[in-house]
């Protein structure tokens, strides 16, 4: 457009026709941001409901923590809500190192290390494979990829119970039944549908043109995966890791079916401690054992919660 038609170069503020009414002082009355009442009925309802929900979930946790810190005489007094009069860590030590399950009397520690040995390889293997699956399905639409994807998704909806017995036979034939490797294999395979779906949807949400640009730059399947896609995928890897870690750590069914007593994961061992029918019920030890078992998922959530939310909201990744 012609220069002469635009606004005159900004000179003094008093341009004719645009100047404010004389004096340009504010009149009395409402001005600026409207004040809001803190104790409005809306706020009371919202925060009240949130507070109740929080208390509802926190009370059992509170009871467990205080009980685990009491000695048995104090527990027998019966008041489960009262804080411990004398704090003792004895039950925690006992739960970790001395509680008996069957013939073993080395506490939960054995189960803990079993669970670590199961969870770490399962998480790594399943994420490694699922991320490549998802990447291939999202970016390299090979012949039959849609059918492959559909089959995989259907797999996610088949109830586990249906598959347990066939898998027992398969593992037996492979000579893996009762070993940690067998359970690792089962966990890796069962995580595959959901994990693949998760990664595929994430990679689909990345701009397709990045992938095209990389192809024109001459990068191949693995180069694009490792040098372009991986560095952009931290959020989804964190989400996937959290889901897999907590899922596999909390698993009970596969653990009890596919392992033997000396390779039981922590959850199965916890059950055996809590449900042992001999002698006195040691509530404080049971509570401590339960908290110890739940500690890993709790820590995972606390540490990576922020990344988790970011990953769930992914798709907003800018190119």
């Amino acid at each position: 457009m012609d220069k002469s038609l635009t606004m005159p170069a900004s000179g003094p503020v008093s341009r004719p026709g645009i100047s404010a009414p004389a004096g340009s002082r504010l009149e009395t009355g409402p001005q600026g941001k409207r004040p809001r009442k803190v104790l409005s009925s809306r706020n009371i309802i919202v925060y009240g409901a949130l507070g109740l929900a929080a208390i509802y979930y926190l009370i059992p946790l509170y009871v467990m923590v205080v009980t685990s810190l009491k000695g048995m005489p104090e527990i027998r007094l019966g008041n489960i809500f009262s804080p411990p009069m004398e704090i003792t860590f004895e039950p925690w030590v006992k739960a970790w190192a001395q509680a008996c399950t069957g013939l073993n009397c080395d506490g939960l520690s054995r189960g803990f290390w079993n669970s670590v040995r199961i969870t770490v390889p399962s998480v790594i293997v399943s994420i490694a494979i699922a991320s490549v699956n998802g990447y291939a399905l999202a970016n390299w639409r090979f012949k039959g990829s849609e059918i492959f994807f559909t089959i995989l998704i259907v797999g996610a909806f088949i109830p586990y119970q249906v598959m347990i017995y066939p898998i027992v036979i398969i593992l037996r034939e492979m000579g893996l039944y009762g070993t940690l490797y067998g359970l690792i294999l089962v966990h890796s395979i069962f995580g595959m549908p959901i994990q693949t779906l998760l990664f595929r949807n994430y990679f689909v949400s990345l701009p397709e043109e990045l992938f095209k640009a990389a192809r024109i730059d001459g990068a191949g399947f693995w180069q694009i995966y490792f040098r372009i896609m991986l560095p952009m995928s931290l959020p989804i890897f964190v989400v996937s890791m959290i889901l897999q870690t907590t899922g596999i750590w909390n698993d009970f069914l596969f653990g009890v079916v596919f392992t033997r007593p000396d390779t039981y994961p922590m959850t199965v061992q916890l059950n055996n401690i809590v449900n042992s029918v001999q002698g006195v019920k040691e509530y404080n030890v049971n509570m401590a054992a339960t908290l110890l078992t739940g500690a890993v998922p709790l820590i995972v959530y606390f540490v990576s919660g922020r990344l988790f939310v970011r990953g769930i909201a992914a798709g907003a990744v800018k190119g």
Partner: protein, 370 residues
Amino acid sequence: MLNNVSARTQSSVSIRELSLSFGSVTVLENLNLDIHDGEFLVLLGSSGCGKSTLLNCIAGLLEPTEGQIFIKDKNVTWEEPKDRGIGMVFQSYALYPQMTVEKNLSFGLRVAKVPKDEIDRRVARASGILQIEPLLKRKPSELSGGQRQRVAIGRALVRDVDVFLFDEPLSNLDAKLRSELRVEIKRLHQALKNTMIYVTHDQIEALTLADRIAIMKSGVIQQLDDPVTIYNRPKNRFVAGFIGSPSMNFLTGELVDEGGHTVFKTNGVSFSLDGYDAYEPLKGGRKVILGVRPEHIKVDGDIAGGEVHEAVVDIEEPMGADNLLWLKHAGHVMSVRIGGARRYAVGAKVRLAFDMTMASLFDAGTEERI
């Protein structure tokens, strides 16, 4: 369409009988195109016309269902994108977000295992041409839209390619930046003299940049010509209506023989066709569409002679440099472009003269130029 075999020796990119369909949907149909060495060709069309698909086929990102693609006389139909000697610039820039500008530029070379000093030399040259040296250590997220697109062009530049492919490179930029970068791309083409194929839906970009424009509709090239010919002698009604803003005025009517001359008649008003350069002798009795661009209708003082019509001003749209009048005449509303200083009141009577040397006549049935 151009299909002579001798053109192949001097052409940079040749497309032979290319078809592409996704399932039952045909996107490109039996398409032939020869792009000369050093030519700036613009593929122009509205969304869904297949222009980006064609570009992706040339790049090797999509496999054609049928046909062949030649680049520098080499059949590259089955070649990988990297082996075709092409560089591509995308609408969304497609810069690798985790890499610095320097790493973005050199990625292709590093993948191809080019020696380090050669990479440095080429990155320095490209960043010099595009004036992005101060940005080399930055991440794409720290750049403005215009800077990002410059880096994206640089990525094609460092790879020393024969053919540049642009896929709507300016569509994500604001109007001011778009016109600046448009000039820069033109300057780049004049300096490098590479073959460039440029996809856009913006007719201004097409008219200003192109040596030749290919206008596409539903997977078929409607017209392939230089911008002036496309603008002044559109081959059919679609091309005529697609190019030009505001759009060409279309009057439907018929040809009538009157006193030894053939004239155009609509709603009882006849228009002399003196000066119209017809492909075939005009005969009466044919249903036709007369197309006249807004600037080819002269008003009042501009009239130099010839047949004069009279019309009424319906709406006036002052646009600064120009003034656009919407006039009612012979049962049609038509737009006329006059100088910005000349103003008319609504309802005013104006005299018109139609410049038939610049007009277009289309058959009402086939919509082809006659």
